[in-house]
Symmetry: C2
Subunit: 446 residues, 2 copies
């Protein structure tokens, strides 16, 4: 029986609905990785390990609800380009260079960046996902991993991706921290037949499906022009929604799509990554208000660092608040409490971990970020909830626990050697952005 | 003769036009506060003070082109409200509580936050500006300060504000770091007669005018409805543009206004603070592309922390890049180089310091931020310029020089006691947000 008390912190309480609150001078009691009690602080403990959190604010560990973690290796290598050029001239030609080793090195760096910034779960969609699983296991982070495939790789590619998901799930069962999803890329790169087969495997074997859909209004237009249906209709008629899906972006979701999503709101969620929509000038963002009115859960993500440049979910959640206020032309909408709920409970639901993580309450896993609000950019603190949304930097995170284990202590990773990770990333970086093969893994023509 | 060498850094070179570049392994030679030479690094120096900057990137110190620094005291105290409620129910009733001491404490905290984040100049607009001057002098930061007035305070209030500007200018002449501007609040709170008088004093005595104008499309509509002219036309016909103005926001600037601004492009600039426009759901942002096509300089600012929640210009410049790409629906626009130019040269011009600061080149004052790109959120570094715009946090700033003086060393302020500053801010914080007087300094009804 492993016991730990996170002692004398403030605690961010995120209810299912309504305003968040901060309880002061609390102890979080953890047993075998789960929170068993949160109560007023005691002066001292004997025979129990204690993490002194005096002066810190405990926040449910954040979830990065959609990313391609190994793409940190291409950070800053595809700037100031259109979405077409980003795919066709930069990223997909660069991804010809992917190898298991390079993916592993990137995933290790990504896990380090996320943990140091208080991200305790990431929901990933990429190639060589077994390597990402290994990196996640090693670092102590929680992850759901979807091995990516395109229909261009044929039945063999599709079935290999399914098999990779099965293997990751088997591997993860021992740790309890790693789960797998099926990862078709998007309706514009995966055929209806392959989506049908994905839905069937998902239903039969109990996977969820993680994919991109309706990323932009243009994609929705194009889908209607070419196929007479929206991308969400494609997911409905191929059974993907029924199987349960995490849909990345959804900026092109139309009002009529809401009725298709609504019956599956217990198993389908949308991930919003607003920095990317602004940076690629995509013209719209996820219609969170309309989705929420239909009960559809929302998570917040960074997407890959080849466009987002960081895996910083504080930055993402702040941009969700700002861009949603702008979208609805209502400064009273997407409040601080609602934003924090998306980044915590919403993220847990998006990751398929709704009752396991996303809140600091007895029975949930002890995934906790301890944040320091004492620096000048936070002072004076009139409302710590406002600080979390509008002033916090990832570097304000001091300690991080996943499954009750201290994986970051005093801003330092406890389970992996950061220096070695960075050295490996530096030494391989040039190999990832090499365009000399003059080839590509896919063409963006949605 | 004071001499200092900032040794063995990379240097961000920001040309007047075209792409920025990074020169590696450079020494920046400083004499009596000015950069006298930048050249390949030497192995060692004798008889000259050296700041070892190995592994760091030297960036021109950032300019916060529009702020109300003491409003850090109200950080987080006016959240999730409309622009009307922000002014009429929160901020202007709170500002009944302003006293010289409270303003001083806020300004000291603000200077600390800005310097630690690599901001070497701020352009301020607030009450009790003499207290802000004292705080700026003490901390070592550079500042231009505009004592604010409304017409509601009568001729006496106006003339007192002008006199305050004269006194600050006199005070600043000895340090060389403090300048003053005239600070009418906005065309909707200051009469045309008072704006004319402001322009006259500015022209006669060599001041510039710093004010808010055309902050939103609504303000422009309202000005046309009530007065038959746009806010920029008001500034033109009262002589404010001719005198030389720094205009905050300008989101409501119309195409026809450009021809009014264009003849004064050698003395008039616009400050863009995009986080505020999103957070208050203002509906538009500064039309930077149109302004630049007319040669009008642009700076980047945070506005006050009572709405922006930080004084972090890295955050602001990133949001300028993102929101301008969105505004123009063009991901190839507002490039990394152009964004860095706005935050450096643009800021210097906005502050009235065009030839003095804003670039690292011989003859300019040595205002320098030394940034560390070695943390995981920056790695691997394919393009350090991209890191500066899209990955850098204020906490990546290690050392800061203003006028050749090291005012931040190893992330620590050298000239002031941060602990005392924060204690003072905490002890007074409640007095600033007290609404029990049930009064206000002004009504927002533009």
């Amino acid at each position: 029986m492993r016991q730990l008390v996170v002692r004398n912190c403030s605690v961010l309480v995120v209810p299912q609905v309504g305003e968040c609150r901060v309880d002061e001078a609390q102890d979080i009691h953890i047993q075998d990785g789960a929170i068993i009690r949160i109560a007023e602080t005691e002066p001292a403990y004997t025979e129990v390990e204690v993490l002194d959190a005096t002066g810190l604010l405990a926040v449910p560990g954040l979830t990065n609800s959609h990313t391609h973690s190994p793409m940190v290796m291409m950070r800053g290598a595809a700037e100031d380009v259109s979405i077409d050029d980003w795919f066709n001239r930069k990223i997909w030609p660069m991804e010809v260079n992917l190898t298991p080793e390079r993916v592993k090195v990137g995933a290790r760096l990504a896990c380090a960046e996320m943990l140091l910034g208080g991200v305790t779960t990431f929901v990933d969609h990429y190639f060589h996902a077994d390597q990402i699983a290994a990196a996640a296991l090693e670092s102590g982070i929680r992850a759901d991993l979807a091995p990516t495939f395109f229909s261009s790789t044929g039945t063999e590619g599709r079935e290999a991706a399914f098999e990779a998901a099965r293997e990751i799930r088997a591997l993860g069962q021992s740790s309890g921290r790693i789960t797998a999803s099926l990862g078709p890329h998007a309706p514009y790169t995966v055929s209806d037949e392959d989506l049908r087969r994905t839905a069937e495997v998902a239903r039969t074997e109990g996977f969820r499906v993680h994919l991109h859909a309706a990323e932009t209004d243009d994609q929705t237009h194009s889908s209607i022009d070419q196929h007479g249906v929206t991308p969400i209709e494609v997911l409905a008629r191929t059974g993907v929604l029924e199987a349960g899906a995490l849909i990345a972006h959804g900026c092109g979701i139309r009002d009529a799509d809401l009725a298709l999503l609504q019956p599956y709101r217990d198993r389908t969620a949308i991930a919003c990554c607003p920095k990317v929509y602004l940076k690629l000038a995509m013209g719209s963002t996820t219609p969170i208000k309309a989705l929420q009115e239909n009960g559809i859960p929302i998570g917040i993500g960074t997407d890959g660092a080849a466009v987002h440049n960081t895996l910083d979910v504080w930055e993402s959640l702040r941009l969700v608040a700002l861009t949603q206020k702008q979208r609805e032309q209502n400064a009273e909408w997407m409040t601080i409490s609602d934003t924090l709920r998306l980044a915590t409970r919403g993220g847990a639901t998006a990751a398929g971990l709704a009752n396991l993580t996303g809140a600091l309450e007895p029975g949930r896993r002890a995934d906790i970020a301890l944040v320091d609000l004492k620096a000048p950019h936070h002072q004076p603190v009139h409302d710590p909830r406002a600080n979390l949304v509008y002033s916090t930097r990832a570097s304000d995170v001091v300690h991080v626990l996943v499954d009750g284990e201290v994986v970051v202590r005093d801003r330092t990773l406890t389970k992996v050697d950061l220096t070695g990770i960075i050295e490996d990333a530096r030494s391989l970086a040039h190999t990832l952005v090499d365009l000399s093969a003059n080839a590509t893994i896919q063409t963006y023509a949605p």
